[in-house]
């Protein structure tokens, strides 16, 4: 079901202001305006696909946003472009001039915009509802008619007319429609009715009582009942330059109230003494599992996970369990995560881990010092080699 122009305008305002709030949007768009729903753009099969909404400063277009009119596209905001004006009237004038050059006697009674090869746009000339010419925007090359081919869906040729909606697999359409509806539910929240601005500004969502679920953040706590207790995790600095594994194991065991000092843990892990310490050889990574289980009298069931992904960390934290995280050459623990739900189109939303890092080191005389709490470690920039989970066994 296609959205109406007034819905498009409101979606553009809400989506762009949400990006402004999370500082994802370029600062050049601060206090720019959305004046109207802009230009409808159609799929080659004739369905309204999205609106290209001009972003205005005064009377000048300084960019545009593509706002989906179709639930099957998954997200209301398809693209944001800055430094590139969108002036529909000027484009139509230019396209008409180009069309007259190609066909001097061209007869048409309507013009509309078509995403002939999404997201590439063309200007379509129609007469009595039938296409008489289709010119690619800017190059003004004639777009050839669609051809039947044996190619796979969504793998079009270089300059081919094809329908995004017709070629999108049905399962994708269903999934994206669900996602789109969820997003619309967020924007339909009653507290957002107070937002009536046409401005794009960081301040729009800073209203009393407005708390947007744009970010999902979670930290380990005393129990899974988050309303009852504050975050509950403590940092331990590594007491020698090579005892990151001992410090990480100490942090994890401390969470479950097993208090062993770091020299003792180092001894169990085979990491030497305060005066003659050594690191944990790569070949002995399983030792961490053995030590956690031994020192918890097998109350904790530890597991080594190779190449952990985002969901490994997220799911363990949701279950209120911290993890030990090995990256090449170093070890830390993870006690929380944050996950942004918004990003510029084409970019991944920010995902970060709350890392209790035993580096920088302290010494055995000052066990209370050392370490940093990293809030947040950019998940996209790190290599996660191993993780250790520890699950409390129940009777």
């Amino acid at each position: 079901m296609a959205l109406k122009p007034e819905q498009i305008t409101r979606l553009a305002i809400l989506e762009l202001n949400a990006l402004a709030l999370t500082r994802v949007l370029p600062a050049s768009l601060e206090k720019a305006k959305i004046a109207d729903a802009g230009t409808p753009v159609y799929d080659p099969n004739g369905t309204l696909l999205f609106h290209r909404v001009p972003i205005m400063r005064g009377r000048v277009s300084i960019g545009y946003a593509d706002i989906s009119a179709q639930e099957a596209l998954g997200e209301p905001l398809l693209a944001v472009s800055t430094g590139q004006a969108w002036n529909e009237k000027a484009i139509v004038r230019e396209a008409t001039t180009a069309a007259r050059r190609i066909q001097r006697a061209l007869v048409f009674d309507d013009i509309r915009f078509v995403a002939y090869s999404f997201p590439k746009i063309a200007v379509q000339f129609l007469n009595r509802g039938e296409e008489v010419l289709l010119l690619e925007w800017r190059t003004w090359a004639v777009v050839p008619p669609a051809v039947r081919s044996e190619r796979n869906p969504l793998e079009p040729g270089h300059f081919e007319r094809w329908s995004l909606l017709d070629e999108m697999p049905a399962a994708d359409k269903r999934r994206k429609t669900t996602e789109f509806k969820k997003r619309l539910e967020v924007w339909a929240s009653p507290v957002l009715e107070a937002i009536t601005t046409d401005l794009i500004t960081e301040a729009t969502f800073k209203l009393p009582g407005v708390l947007l679920p744009l970010v999902e953040t979670r930290e380990v706590r005393y129990s899974a009942r988050t309303a009852d207790h504050a975050p509950c995790y403590e940092l331990r600095g590594q007491q020698t330059g090579v005892w990151c594994v001992a410090a990480s194991t100490e942090m994890l065991l401390n969470f479950y109230r097993y208090h062993y000092d770091q020299p003792r843990l180092a001894q169990e892990l085979g990491l030497g003494t305060c005066d003659h310490p050594n690191g944990l050889p790569y070949s002995q990574v399983n030792k961490v599992v053995t030590v956690i289980e031994k020192l918890s009298s097998n109350t904790l069931d530890a597991t080594l996970i190779a190449n952990p992904g985002w969901t490994t960390f997220r799911d363990e934290i949701r279950a209120n369990r911290p993890l030990i995280s090995f990256i090449p050459g170093h070890s830390r623990t993870v006690a929380g995560y944050t996950s942004h739900r918004l990003a510029l189109p084409g970019e991944l939303p920010f995902k970060g881990l709350l890392v209790y890092d035993p580096w920088p080191p302290t010494d055995c005389e000052h066990p209370e010092d050392g370490g940093v709490i990293t809030r947040w470690e950019n998940f996209a920039t790190q290599t996660y080699q191993y993780a250790y989970s520890a699950v409390l066994k129940h009777v």
Binding site: R23, V215, E234, L235, G237, Q238, T240, G241, V242, W243, C244, V245, L271, G272, H276, P277, N278, G279, L280, P281, Y282, S283, V285, F326, I327, P328, G329, H330, S331, R332, T338, V355, D357, W359, P360, P361, T362, D363, H366, E368, D369, G370, V372, I373, T374, R375, W376, E377, N378, T381
Partner: protein, 168 residues
Amino acid sequence: MPVSSNDSRAVGRRARALLAGGDCASPLVRAAGQVGEAVPVLHPDGGLHSWFVPITVDGRIVGFFQLLPDHTLLRYSTFQRHEDTLDGCPPAASWLDREAILSRLHEKKRPDETVGPLFLSYDRTPERLAWAAVLTTARGATRTLYVSGRAVWEATDRTDDSFGGPGH
């Protein structure tokens, strides 16, 4: 990769925006934190890896941003144990005063060694930030010393296969 004062200023601007953004630092640090001069973090072989931007409050270093050369956020890390106090935050000089850091490094200098320029680097992996200097003997033999937190140590074989590094 050569770095310029323009690079440093641009990184500082990005760090100030991130600090004001409110997603990383505690309310105390957002309100009172001073964004210090961005310091290049060099690979042990001298190339630019990232930027370290310290945040200080009342003469203590409370945290830092680490950003890639293209300003991608690697992390914000804090020394604060609790959001509302500075307990646990070391004196800013221990991370930012080059003379103070050099004097600590001199504790492990041998009599026949000269100390090269101090630079911010890392031991084994960029999460293990440390100040470094190359020491050279009269015969031309070199070794690298690191300073971080309470520790001063000599660089070891970077190809060793352990988490944390070999013994030292």
